[in-house]
């Protein structure tokens, strides 16, 4: 079971490659965080996956081999574009009615009960709702078509901390209930660790990291030790990132597992997801992709 498979996928806008040489196979049953700086190609990738753009090169398949944009793929995927696009001048009730008629499958009862438990005012115009409520409404509509895969483009970008928490609660409860897979893009790295169990990092249009969060965290560690030893150790350890001061140095290194010995003079510490993502983003030439060798230096 895979929700997204891409092989040497590329998309060019005029002379710029927004995405290139992108190959990945994301298994079903995950909450996938798609991370990268602005302009990394996140939105392009998501648009390719839902069939809003055509690939310039390579192939992309969704939900076990479906062509993006075909009828089955459209029915199986819920997509919420950036800034939760809704009809501002429709009431909540009319917006639901419209969405119900535009989708092949529609669970009106689930939508109504979600709207009720969220306390969204049904007669209010969509444009009069708060940003957090609009995001919740858009998510409710996407969930009501009972998708197998939900794709969200920057769902948290414009939400305040409380609205973010409420949005993620709603999303995670739906995942627990229906077992759907989720792919969401974000440039907020700090909050990912709690929700995402699969990570895809894009940088400059290329894939940099892909894998299960637990595996990635277990395969990296931070070694702290004296700076003079660090220079020698860096040659052997090939750190993802090293920060060296006058006396002390931190090396973020890959590790084969907890059994791997710590170089003498160093202290090993586990790495957080945020630290890991930022370390990779700072050096686009380093990649960590799944395979027989988990990590390969480009």
């Amino acid at each position: 079971m895979s929700v997204l498979e891409a092989c040497n996928l590329g998309r060019r806008y005029r002379r710029t490659w927004a995405l290139r040489e992108f190959s990945v196979a994301v298994p079903a049953g995950h909450v996938v965080a798609l991370v990268g700086p602005n302009g990394a190609g996140k939105t392009t990738l998501l648009h390719l996956a839902v069939g809003l753009t055509a690939a310039t090169k390579g192939t992309v398949r969704v939900l076990d081999g479906l062509q993006p944009g075909c009828a089955d793929a459209l029915a199986g995927i819920g997509f919420v574009a950036q800034d939760a696009p809704l009809y501002r001048y429709l009431s909540v009730t009319d917006m639901l009615h419209l969405a119900g008629n535009l989708n092949r499958s529609w669970d009106a009862q689930a939508a109504s009960s979600r709207i009720a438990s969220l306390g969204l005012p049904r007669d209010k115009k969509v444009g009069a709702l708060s940003g957090g409520q609009q995001a919740q409404l858009a998510l409710t509509i996407a969930l009501a078509k009972r998708p197998r895969l939900l794709i969200l483009d920057e769902p948290l970008a414009r939400l305040d901390p409380l609205a973010r928490h409420e949005f993620m609660s709603l999303l995670m409860a739906a995942v627990a209930e229906d077992g759907l897979s989720v792919i969401f893009s974000s440039h907020v790295v700090a909050e990912l660790e709690r929700v995402a169990d699969y990570l895809v990092v894009l940088n400059g249009g290329r894939l940099q990291v892909a894998g299960e969060v637990d595996d990635l965290l277990a395969a990296h560690r931070v070694l702290t030790g004296p700076a003079d030893l660090a220079a020698a150790a860096a040659g052997q350890l090939n750190p993802v990132r090293s920060s060296v001061a006058g006396a002390q140095a931190h090396l973020l290194c890959r590790t084969s597992g907890p059994g791997e010995p710590v170089p003498s003079g160093f202290l090993a510490q586990p790495v957080s997801l945020e630290e890991l993502v930022l370390a990779y983003l700072r050096d686009p030439s380093v990649v960590a992709l799944p395979g027989p060798e988990l990590a390969v230096r480009a």
Binding site: S169, M172, A176, R194, D197, P258, G259, E260, P261
Partner: protein, 161 residues
């Protein structure tokens, strides 16, 4: 101030979880530790049902797999048992440590504190050492590898957490 209705309703789960994002302890382990703590303090007893995965997920906005992992760990430690279609229930109890035993442990700790003090370690230093040792100990207990870092160990012993 409002009181969460769920917590005082009849038939509501006996405990609610909270998360400390700054603690550095993995989320699933925080849940495990809170169940253990609730057992020690008597908020939970044999036969009690733990909050459903959906409830925990909706309250904390965390990945459902994290909750499942925590509940599996509790089962592994013999503290809970999952009944398909019903939920996860408290099964075991934590071993109660007797007063005499606690006293002798405390005496050993005080002796260690004195030696740390005479070695010139201040209070913050002592706390730092304790926390780092405790974290190592906890990790080894969870992953099942032996305590203490064995520098001579062969690479890639292949132990999986």
């Amino acid at each position: 101030m409002t009181i969460d209705k769920q917590s005082i309703q009849d038939g509501a789960p006996p405990i609610v979880f909270r998360l400390d994002p700054g603690s550095g302890v993995p989320t699933y382990l925080q849940l495990v530790q809170q169940v253990e703590q609730a057992l020690r303090l008597g908020y939970l007893s044999q036969g009690d049902q733990l909050p459903t995965v959906k409830d925990v997920v909706a309250a904390l906005a965390i990945n459902p797999n994290t909750v499942l992992k925590a509940y599996r760990e509790l089962e592994h430690r013999g503290l809970a048992v999952g009944r398909p279609g019903q939920g996860t229930f408290i099964e075991g109890t934590l071993r109660h440590v007797g007063i005499a035993e606690q006293n002798s442990l405390r005496k050993a700790l005080v002796a260690w504190l004195e030696s740390a003090d005479s070695a010139g370690l201040d209070e913050d230093g002592i706390v730092a050492i304790f926390h780092s040792a405790l974290r190592d100990f906890r990790e080894h207990r969870v992953t099942g590898r032996p305590a203490g870092r064995d520098r001579g160990a062969e690479t890639g012993t292949g132990q999986v957490a």
